[in-house]
């Protein structure tokens, strides 16, 4: 994949706001279209945003602003989302689960790219990375976390977020 990188890879306040808002819209839109599940923003949940087992998909966006998008789903919710996405049962420990969460994250990043484009923020997206673990906290040294959002669905909560380096005022 060809990546074009401008010199302005740090986010301004306006870009950060646009990215955070666009991410919420992208998550709701993709989860609704792919999993046929209505998601809405909710208050952070200790067992979703903090401790607990999760599978996490990550996609990098590079260009006018460098960012990382992640999607974190607890096992019970992930199994329902993957089954609705694939049309067949997907066990949490199977490689298909990693593929499903990777694809969901990829689609969210693709949707986010279009929305950012409308805000005149041009980015290219990487291929997704997926990992699974216990008590995973979204944090990256020297990168400022814009937002870790929590979403509520009838099948449980999940988290999505965006990390970007903030431009100094």
């Amino acid at each position: 994949m060809t990546m074009t990188k401008s010199t302005n890879t740090l986010g301004t306040e306006a870009q950060m706001d646009a990215a955070g808002k666009s991410l919420t819209e992208a998550v709701v839109s993709v989860i609704s279209a792919v999993c046929r599940v209505q998601a809405e923003l909710s208050a952070p949940q200790p067992d979703v945003n903090g401790a607990g087992e999760k599978i996490i998909g990550i996609v990098s966006l590079m260009g006018d602003m460098d960012m990382t998008v992640f999607l974190g789903i607890p096992p019970a919710t992930a199994v329902v989302f993957a089954a609705k996405f694939a049309g067949f049962a997907v066990p949490f420990e199977s490689p298909d689960m990693a593929d499903a969460v990777g694809e969901l994250t990829n689609m969210i990043a693709g949707d986010l790219k279009i929305r950012l484009d409308r805000c005149r923020i041009k980015v290219n997206i990487s291929i997704p990375t997926v990992f699974r673990g216990q008590d995973l906290i979204a944090t990256t040294p020297s990168w400022e976390l814009i937002n870790e959002l929590c979403f509520k669905t009838e099948y449980g909560h999940f988290t999505a977020g965006l990390c970007a380096k903030k431009k100094k005022p």
Partner: protein, 145 residues
């Protein structure tokens, strides 16, 4: 109509979904081979005979665009290629569509009905070509062109 299709995607679940959706269209009897990136697909393509390719865009090792360029310009193949893409790569896809490198595309997430609508015209064209293959003169003229 029998169609030997090559499905290329780094995601195993997406390959399964593409094959499932194609089967559900009932537009043809599909047999499939799978590749997880462009390099693997290129090796399979050189070794086999395929009627249609379904190719993801974003893949490791060799992405979809590089693969179709190799197939079109190096191997000089006119095999119908359907790109599988997300909204995020539609801008790059348009160029490939306009230059004839790609015959059609499917945007993720997709349904069997949506896939059917996209491939029906390609299958129709393939069927007509099988019934009325171009004359030697027409093939030569196309080659010269």
């Amino acid at each position: 109509m029998n169609v030997n299709a090559l499905v290329i995607d780094d995601s195993g679940i997406m390959r399964k979904l593409v094959m499932k959706s194609l089967g559900e269209t009932r537009l043809a009897v599909f047999t499939f081979q799978e590749a997880k990136d462009g390099l693997e697909a290129l090796a399979l393509f050189k070794a086999g005979k395929f009627d249609m390719l379904f190719c993801d865009w974003n893949m490791p090792n060799m992405n979809g665009l590089d693969l179709i360029k190799r197939i079109r310009y190096e191997l000089k193949s006119k095999v119908p290629i359907v790109m599988i893409t997300t909204e995020g790569t539609m801008d790059k896809l348009e160029e490939a569509l306009n230059t004839g490198q790609v015959d059609s595309y499917i945007v993720k997430p997709f349904t069997a009905e949506g896939v059917g609508n996209k491939i029906a015209p390609l299958l129709q064209k393939m069927s007509e070509l099988k019934k009325n293959p171009p004359s030697v003169f027409a093939r030569l003229a196309a080659k010269v062109k």
